[in-house]
């Protein structure tokens, strides 16, 4: 499949995760992510700003299996200042097919209007082979838009999946306007790393 075709398929088939795992009270979020290891679609609802519950469908490309997870994300800690916000989250999930298939982890971020940094760790347990995913992200906004403008972030992401071994570092662009967010990264090994998000 050509790169462009792959890219556009990713855009419309997939789902996402780590960023913005909890919405405002009563808010819903639809996310998607696609990379070399999985395609997933994730819907979550936030009864309060402290936690979200949701359903994620994952097509695991490594094991060639599909999983449906019931997910919980909990905001462990948040610090708001005039110019920054820092978050630490706990995430967990259980497969609807087999309780032995599950995952848990932590992720966090700190951002100002100019800088962003984030990290995540996820341990996935299943009947095939357990594995772990880790990532770090560091970014800068090239300009500071007003409310309602088109916003852009330039980031570097480095991640490791224990199934495939080495750390991979690659550039990521993040765009958002209104309730839509779109993030895309590319590395020759990782292939396209695409996130889409819509909040409502």
């Amino acid at each position: 499949m050509g790169i462009l075709k792959k890219f556009f398929c990713s855009l419309f088939l997939i789902s996402s995760i780590e960023a913005r795992p909890i919405s405002y009270s009563g808010g819903s979020t639809l996310m998607s992510i696609s990379d070399n290891l999985k395609d997933s679609t994730y819907y979550h609802y936030s009864p309060t700003y402290k936690y979200s519950i949701g359903v994620e469908q994952v097509k695991d490309k490594f094991f060639d299996k599909k999983f449906t997870y019931l997910r919980l994300t909990y905001l462990i800690n948040r610090k708001n200042t005039k110019n920054s916000q820092r978050n630490l989250y706990f995430q967990s999930a259980l497969s609807t097919d087999n309780l032995n298939d599950n995952f848990y982890g932590m992720h966090g971020d700190w951002e100002t209007r100019r800088l962003f940094s984030g990290f995540g760790y996820k341990k996935v347990i299943n009947n095939f082979r357990d594995f772990a995913e880790q990532y770090f992200q560091l970014g800068i906004a090239p300009y500071q838009g007003n409310y309602g403008d088109f916003h852009t972030w330039i980031l570097m992401k480095t991640r490791k999946n224990s199934l495939v071994g080495d750390w991979k570092t690659y550039p990521v662009l993040k765009f958002f306007k209104g309730d839509f967010l779109f993030e895309i990264g590319y590395d020759s090994d990782v292939d396209w790393d695409v996130h889409l998000m819509y909040r409502f």
């Binding site: 405002y24 200042t81 005039k82 920054s84 700190w110 209007r113 838009g145 007003n146 916003h151 570092t169």
Partner: protein, 141 residues
Amino acid sequence: MKKGYFLTIFLISLFAWADDDHHKSHTMEMEAHSHEGHKHEVMVDGRKLEVDPDRFDKFVDGQKNFHVAVISVNGMVCDFCARGIEKTFKKDKSVQKIDVDLSRGKVLVLYSLSAKIEFEDIKQKILSNGQNATDLQVISI
């Protein structure tokens, strides 16, 4: 190169987790504005309105017989995160209009004159979006 990258992330993380309490005492003053008769120049509880003068004038332009709440918010660092604030306030029927000033951390809310504006209620609305309201100034126009 990777070592340098991780070191940078580590240093930024340290900065992020450090206590930022000094921000609490920092108040952003209104910029000098020479135009006379503009609403933003009024005093509220002995203080000037802490707003972007041009933004405020544009917000209230053509409006009469309303209350304007100027809310200071901590943690409002991105457009995407502030969306919920607008949605929450718009559920209140007495709210006519809302504006978010990300650069100053201010939310402007235009209320009908009959509305009862309480800081506790506003703090709760802001908190439901995960941010903190730290100050409120209300003027009638």
